[in-house]
Every structure is written in C-alpha cells, then in structure tokens.
C-alpha cells in the first residue's frame, strides 16, 4: 500500500520533471543563432536555387518556426494548436527531421528500442559481473583473489572503449566467428521481428555489451568491495558469527544487504551515462542506436530530431532513478519508515 502510494507519487514528480526538462531542452537547442531552415535558406540563396528556398519557406510556416519561441515550444509539446491543430509530443507526433527529410518517428523508430536493448544488456552485464566479483574481493580482501580482480578491473577502467571494441572484433571474429559491426544481420534490417532476427541480434549484442559494460562493471565492483569492507567491520557481523552462522550465509544475509543500497541507487546514473558514453562505441561498431543520430542532429541544428532524442534520454534517466528509488524503498526499511513515528 505504502509502496503503491510512493510509486504513484514518484510517477507524478517524474512527469513534472519531464516537463521542466522539455522546456530546458527546447531553450538550449534554440540558443545558438539561427535554425536549420534559416541556415539552409541562406545557403540556397547564395547558390541561387529559388525552388529550394520556396520549400524551406513552406516548411518554416508548416512548423511554425516563424512564431515566437514560447509558441514554438507549446506547439512542439502539443499544448497549443499549430498550423495543423494539436499535434505535438503528447499527441504522439514527434516532428519532422529537416536533415533526413523524414518524420522523426521513422528515423528513430527501430534505433529507439535497439538502444534500450543494448543498454539494458550492458546494465545487466555490469550487475552480473560486479556483484559476485565485488563480494568475493571483499570476502577475500588482501589475498590474490582481491588483487587479481582489482587488476582486471583497473584494466577495464583504463582501456578506451573503442580500442577494446576493435580488439574484440578482430579476435572475436577470428576465433569465435562473431560477426563484425551492426546489431543484426543486414538482411533483417527493417524486417518484422522473427525468431531468426532475434538470434541474430543476440549474437551481435555480445561484443557491444562487453565493451560498453566493462568500465561500468569494474567501477561498480570496486565500489561494492569498498562498501562490503566497511560493513564487514560492523558489530552486527560479529553478532551473526557469534550466533554460529556459516561465513557464506552470513555474508549474503547481512553485509551484502546493507552494501546493496549504493549498488541499487546506481541504476539511475548508469542508464544515461551509458547512452551518452556509448556514442563513440556505437560509431565505431556501427550500432544502429540513437547515439550517432543525436550527434548528427545536434551538429546540424535539426531541432525536432535532437529535441526528441534528448527527451528520450531524459526519460531513460528518470525511469532509471525511479526504478532505483522504488527498489530502495522495497529493500531498506529505514527509507520506508522515514518520518514514521517510532
């Protein structure tokens, strides 16, 4: 009951935050002088192609780029009727990409959920690797287990991602026949989801997951190890041993539960940092994620496309923090009962 109320409350604040973010995103995108169309018009006029100018002028009207900024924002969001009535983000119309000359939804369509898939896989990888290694390193601190895992971890942190990607591709392809580049076999692109397509995606996912996840995993592992070591020195651990618990059972039940908090709280940070951090990797590996698209859109002042992508990243962040907050409330009674009379 309490959890439900909390979730509802967090959903509400999330929507509010999203609203604020949307305004900021819009303003920041429009901060540089000019916009895509005015740049284009200037260019076309310079080269004397009046037909193009007419089209650009038409688009300007069509997307209300000639009205004041706040009106543009309201129209973009769908709070105010534009030239075609209410048709903004909340109505499901993501706008027009001038650069690609296609609707935004068409451009980002597949890469949107591929992004989610890649990053989810990376996050899962981070947790799957960091959890056992971190606990092991703490339980066997200052032994070869600890030192080895720390060494590997630092290697993972220190190697540039794209370099790791190239190395993995070379050797992966040579010895394990792992396909190079992309997120699926080219013949599946644009095809509906089938069993074969899924298999193809899974095989292609191996290298990107590893590349994007390594540094996150090693950082997370070190953090978990440090937290665990702190907890292992606490008196309640001694109490548990004095009860006659076996070390492994004790570790899992007591210190790990407490050390878990920062671990869970990191989900919120992990998602967005991976989306923005994986741009370079996506370019190198030729992944059809949203990162490279964002880069192009920002460079060419393609405002609807970049606005939408930024909003999407913000949404991912907010969803991540919300998941971690709700998980924390479930995991930690101290947070759950905060403010309750004792």
């Amino acid at each position: 009951m309490l959890l439900l109320r909390y979730t509802a409350y967090r959903l509400f604040t999330m929507l509010l935050t999203l609203l604020v973010v949307s305004a900021m995103v819009f303003v920041i995108i429009n901060l540089p002088p000019g916009d895509y169309l005015s740049n284009q018009i200037a260019e076309l006029q310079a080269s004397g192609q009046s037909a193009g100018v007419a089209k650009a002028e038409f688009l300007r009207k069509e997307y209300a780029l000639d009205s004041p900024l706040w009106e543009q924002y309201m129209i973009w969001m769908g709070f105010m009727p534009g030239p075609h009535g209410f048709s903004g983000l909340i109505q499901g119309n993501f706008g027009w990409s001038f650069e690609f000359d296609r609707p935004v939804s068409e451009i980002v369509g597949e890469s949107l959920w591929l992004t989610v898939v890649v990053n989810l896989a990376a996050v899962l990888f981070v947790y799957a690797v960091a959890l056992p290694l971190g606990v092991l390193a703490a339980a066997r601190s200052r032994t070869w287990v600890d030192y080895t895992s720390a060494f590997i971890g630092y290697l993972g942190l220190a190697t540039p991602n794209f370099l790791l990607a190239l190395i993995l591709f070379y050797y992966g392809h040579r010895y394990f026949d792992i396909p190079i580049g992309g997120l699926m076999d080219p013949r599946f692109e644009g095809q509906p989801l089938t069993w074969d397509k899924m298999k193809s995606i899974l095989v292609h996912l191996i290298v990107p997951t590893f590349v994007i996840g390594t540094s996150g995993a090693s950082a997370m592992m070190q953090r978990l190890r440090a937290n665990m070591l702190d907890e292992l020195g606490k008196p309640y651990v001694e109490t548990a041993i004095a009860k006659g618990m076996s070390p492994s059972r004790m570790l899992a039940k007591y210190p790990l539960r407490v050390a878990f908090n920062p671990f869970v709280a990191d989900i919120g940070n992990l998602l967005p940092s991976m989306v923005s951090g994986s741009v370079l990797v996506s370019v190198v590996l030729g992944l059809q994620t949203i990162g490279p698209t964002l880069l192009t859109a920002l460079k060419t002042q393609d405002q609807f496309l970049s606005g939408f992508v930024l909003m999407f990243v913000a949404l991912l962040t907010l969803v991540g923090t919300m998941i971690s907050d709700v998980l924390l409330v479930m995991l930690d009674p101290r947070i759950r009962y905060e403010g309750r009379e004792t």
Binding site: T239, A242, K243, V258, P333, R334, G339
Partner: protein
C-alpha cells in the same frame, strides 16, 4: 566439581609485538558469574572473544587451552575445527555485545534476527521458532512481543535493543553467556534494569555468565568471582566479596579509589550564591519541528527544552544531569549562543563582575567575538574533537590566531605553558593527536579551550568516554583549573557520581524539563523527585552489601505519566518548580 569453562595459559598477540593477553587462567563454574574487570587495553575483550574464537583476523592464538565441559561432554574449544565451533556458538555459548545500537542488523526485523539462532541450531520450523521467540521476548520484558517481533532495530530504544540482544543470546538456552560491557552504552536507569534482567534470567535457567566490565559497581551487583586484568595479565582473582572488600593488589585498590561514588549525605548543602552571576538563562525553551517526511502529514513538535531557568555564579559549577534526549546538550548549546532559544527566553552573560550584562542572542559582531573569547567548550569524544591533520601546536594556537593575539613566538610559548599546566610536556607540541591516549587527548582539548583565558567553559560529558582512573585525573585537573583561574563550568553529564564531586548545583532534566534542582549534597540527602531517586538508586556502588534497589529505579525511570500523582506531567499539564528549602526546587503539584 568440574568447571564449565576452563581457560589455561591463554596468550594472544598481534604481529611480532608483545602479546596483548598473556598467561591468563580462570575457571567458570556452572551457574556462576565471573567478572572480567579492567580498563581499556587490558585485554579483557580479546580474552572473552577468544573463548568463542571470534578474534580479529590479524590476532594470533599463541598458546593456551580452552575447555568447555557442557552437556555435550568435554570440548576443547581451542582445537575444534571452524565447522564444529559453529555448533557451539550461539547454542551452548552465546554472547552479548557492547553497542546495542550497532550490534543488530538495521535491515532485518528483530524477530527474524532472533529466530535465526533457532533455525541454525534447533532445526525447528519457522512457526515453532516464532512461538519460542515470542515467549523469550515476553520474559525479557517487551511490553508487546508480537509488535517487537515485527519491528526493525531503529524503531526501538537503546534499552529495548539490548533486551532484544539478550533475548537473542538466551533463546537457545545456552550454558554460558558472555556479556561484553553489556550496559556501558546505556543510561544508568536502563543499565540497572538490564542488569536486573540478566540476573533474573540467570536464576531461571541456571546458566553461567562471564561479565566483561570496567565498572566495579556493576561487579559488586553481579559477580561471584572476579578476575582483574591490566595490560593483558591477570592482576588478581578470587571470590567477589574478598576482592571487593579487601583488594590486595595495588592496581585493584587504584581502581577502587578512582571509582566515583555518590556520597552518603547527612545534611543539606549550601545553595549557589545568587550574586556575581556569570550566566543567567531565563525561561529558555527550544522547540524543534520534525518534518514527517511525507508532505501531507502534520509536523511533529519536539520540546527539547521547556522553560529552563539557570543561574551560574562566577567561579562555580552548574551541572545538568539527565539521560540521552533529556535536553541537557540543547540547553548548553543555547547558553553558548550556538542556537537561539524560542521567543520569550533570554540568556545573559557578565564578562566581569562590574560589567553590564550582554544578551547572548542579540550581540553585535564585536560583542560576539568578545563573548567567544570568554566562553569555551570541551567536548565528549576526545577522539573526534581534535583534527587528525593538525599538529598539537597548530590546534592550540589557532584560537589565538583567530582573535589576533600575540606574535607567533608568543603564541607558541603560551601553548607550551598551557600544555604543562594541564599535565603534558611542552615537547609534545609537534606531535599529531593520534600519538596521544584518550585521557591525554582530553587534556589537550581542555588546554585548547583554556588558551583564550576564558571565564566560562561548557563541558559536555568530558569524561564519559574515558576509563575510571583517567576520569579521576581529568576531574582533578578541572578542579585545579577552576581554583587557579576562577573558572565557571556548565557541566553536562549523565553520571550523578561524577557530578557529586564537581558541582555546586545540580539540575536533573527529563524530557526537556528540569524536574529537580539543588546543591548536590541536598539532592543526595533529601531527593524528592522519583526520577532523581531512580537515578541515585540506579548508580551501581562498588559495595557488595549495597545492591541496586530496582524497585526505586522502576518507580522513577518510567515515562512521566507513570509517576505518582504529585509529580505526574503530560504535554498539556506541567507542574511548576516549587522551592522546598533554599536552593532546592522540585517540579511537583502542591
């Protein structure tokens, strides 16, 4: 009769250094209580942990044989495998630790943590375990066992958590209980109740008890056998009545002399003089609002101080006594101007006898600087109140630098002189705090407070983190300084025996209210308020013939609405302070 536990020639060391426990021998008979007495660093904790083999990883078991002859026959604990040892821990021998606040996992329910012992050892079903645990909760004095079972540790008070720890240790009916300073972190009245509980349970189950403590008063109340330890060696051991009545070893005698006690008073004391005041707190109240965490719930008001009136004369000591949460520290913080009182209260300060009083909370910047030179503070924890990254010299001269007094050379000379004044050497100036013991650190913080030559010092439990013999030295130092510099102290403590020695007037606080106030002699001769009586009764005396009177403790230590009609108060109805004799005030209905 074979002893239940026999420890022979135990030696334990760290690294290549001298052993911290050396050739320790003792026996515990079934059903008997043995007290391991010693100050910090005496090796008593390491010794008792060696029995259960829960030593720090770096500790080396150098020699010794520990034999346990319980129901499962004779077990040589020092030679069992780790797996066999697990069956002993928590089942035949269990342990209670010092800090109830931190010895329970914050994330698991009390019931779960206690039943776990039964799951581990009894192999019983969850439901059976629950029933047994609920019975145990009832026996250790939880008013509502069902509710306690489903509570988290942070929902319980310190005393209740220690009861939960005791329940956890007792639930498997051990033959031996090891209690490592089980009451040191508790208020005196709670301590008395917890000790009484352990004793009752012991009588019921017939288990033996090893009680580790530094407090001879606790020993006198609990033990049949005593082992006195110092620097890892046994100084003296034998039956409690012999050691307590005629301590043979000089170290034991020294412990006795240092232990503070509440004196037997035959007369009332002299009230504090009302003229030449240095500090006057008038109708000081402080209310905090606690946010409920959820926006739609009402805020909760916490009355930290309610209508406190204190007058402190120059060169005298006013002590505020009370349990944690009684408002004593808040009152001191307001006196120093660290926090404003609620509207209506004011604090006056006289820098010297002829000066005009300044109102502490309405000072100009210049007045405030002058006031800060006059009023200084000594803190409770000598380990965290000195910056570990500052040399002693820098820490000592910093106040002078802030107030721009003297050249660096003069400042250094003054720091050196002050170190000698507090009983340390001038050549220690270049050291860092970690090179000093707890007692020396407390001398350092007193020296630092004295650097500006103040006239008022607020001492916030300055000795409660120290051993008794060190406490004795620090109190002597404070008395010396008071005589030499005509200092006034506002002395905060939870320990009536300490206060008995140093104070000219004592105010006993409970829930933000002063319940009784008067010269210490008067309070001990003629205590009126049930809470004062409980505090006095709960003080363990190192005298085997004067056990704690638990009935008196129970009468006064409960919540204010359980007090007898004349003293009862609730949030809406608070009796006023009534002056019984000169300088002796009690909060009661007349």
């Amino acid at each position: 009769m074979t002893p239940l536990l026999s420890v022979k020639d135990l030696s334990i060391g760290f690294g290549g250094a001298e052993p911290v426990v050396q050739d320790v021998n003792f026996d515990v008979m079934p059903g008997q209580t043995l007290a391991l007495v010693g100050e910090s660093g005496s090796g008593k904790t390491i010794t008792c942990r060696a029995v259960l083999r829960i030593l720090p990883r770096t500790a080396q078991f150098r020699s010794g044989v520990i034999t346990f002859s319980g129901e499962d026959g004779q077990l040589v604990l020092s030679q069992l495998t780790e797996r066999q040892m697990r069956n002993v821990r928590g089942d035949s021998i269990s342990m209670i630790f010092q800090e109830p606040m931190r010895s329970l996992s914050p994330l698991h329910k009390i019931g779960n943590q206690v039943s776990e012992v039964l799951w581990l050892h009894g192999g019983v079903s969850e439901r059976q375990a629950r029933r047994t645990v609920l019975e145990q909760f009832d026996r250790v004095g939880f008013p509502d066992p069902e509710r306690a079972y489903d509570s988290y540790p942070f929902e319980l008070s310190g005393g209740m958590r220690q009861r939960a720890m005791i329940a956890m240790a007792m639930v498997s009916k051990p033959e031996l209980l090891i209690a490592d300073e089980p009451t040191t972190a508790l208020d005196v009245t709670t301590q008395a109740q917890v000790l009484g509980l352990i004793k009752d349970l012991q009588q019921e189950t017939g288990m033996a008890l090893i009680l580790v403590t530094h407090d001879l008063g606790v020993v006198a109340n609990m033990a049949e056998q005593v082992v006195v330890m110092h620097k890892g060696r046994v100084m003296e051991s034998g039956p409690a009545h012999l050691i307590l009545e005629e301590p043979a070893h000089p170290y034991t005698q020294q412990l006795f002399n240092a232990a503070p006690a509440i004196p037997d008073q035959q007369t009332v004391g002299l009230p504090m003089p009302a003229e030449d005041l240095i500090l006057d707190m008038r109708q000081v109240s402080k209310t905090y609002t606690m946010r409920s965490g959820r926006g739609w719930k009402a805020e909760k008001l916490i009355y930290a101080c309610r209508g406190v009136d204190f007058k402190l004369a120059r060169g005298k000591t006013l002590a505020i006594v009370g349990e944690s949460g009684s408002g004593k520290t808040t009152a001191a913080r307001i006196a120093l101007g660290a926090e404003p009182p609620d509207p209506g209260g004011e604090v006056l300060f006289w820098a010297d006898p002829d000066a005009k009083p300044t109102t502490v909370h309405k000072m100009t910047k210049a007045e405030r600087t002058a006031f800060q030179r006059q009023a200084q503070m000594v803190f409770q924890d000598p380990y965290s109140s000195l910056s570990p990254r500052m040399r002693i010299q820098d820490a000592m001269t910093e106040p002078l630098e802030i107030h721009g007094i003297g050249t660096p050379a003069e400042q250094r000379d003054q720091a050196a002189a002050m170190l000698q004044r507090v009983g340390l050497n001038a050549d220690m100036l270049k050291r860092y705090p970690h090179a000093f013991s707890g007692g020396q650190r407390q001398r350092l913080s007193i020296a630092r407070a004295m650097m500006l030559d103040p006239s008022l010092i607020v001492c916030d439990e300055p000795t409660s983190a120290l051993d008794v013999s060190v406490q004795d030295q620090i109190l002597t130092l404070l008395e010396d300084l008071q005589d030499g510099h005509n200092l006034s102290y506002l002395f905060i403590s939870h320990d009536l025996a300490v206060v008995a020695r140093i104070a000219d007037e004592v105010a006993v606080m409970r829930q933000g209210l002063v319940v009784e106030q008067g010269p210490p002699d008067t309070l001990f001769y003629n205590p009126q308020h049930p809470y004062t009586k409980a505090l006095i009764a709960a003080q363990p005396e190192p005298d085997i013939n004067r056990p704690i009177n638990l009935k008196l403790v129970a009468l006064g230590a409960g919540s204010p609405d359980s007090w007898s009609e004349a003293f009862r108060f609730t949030d809406s109805m608070i009796p006023s302070l009534v002056e019984l004799e000169p300088g002796h005030k009690v909060r009661c209905h007349v």
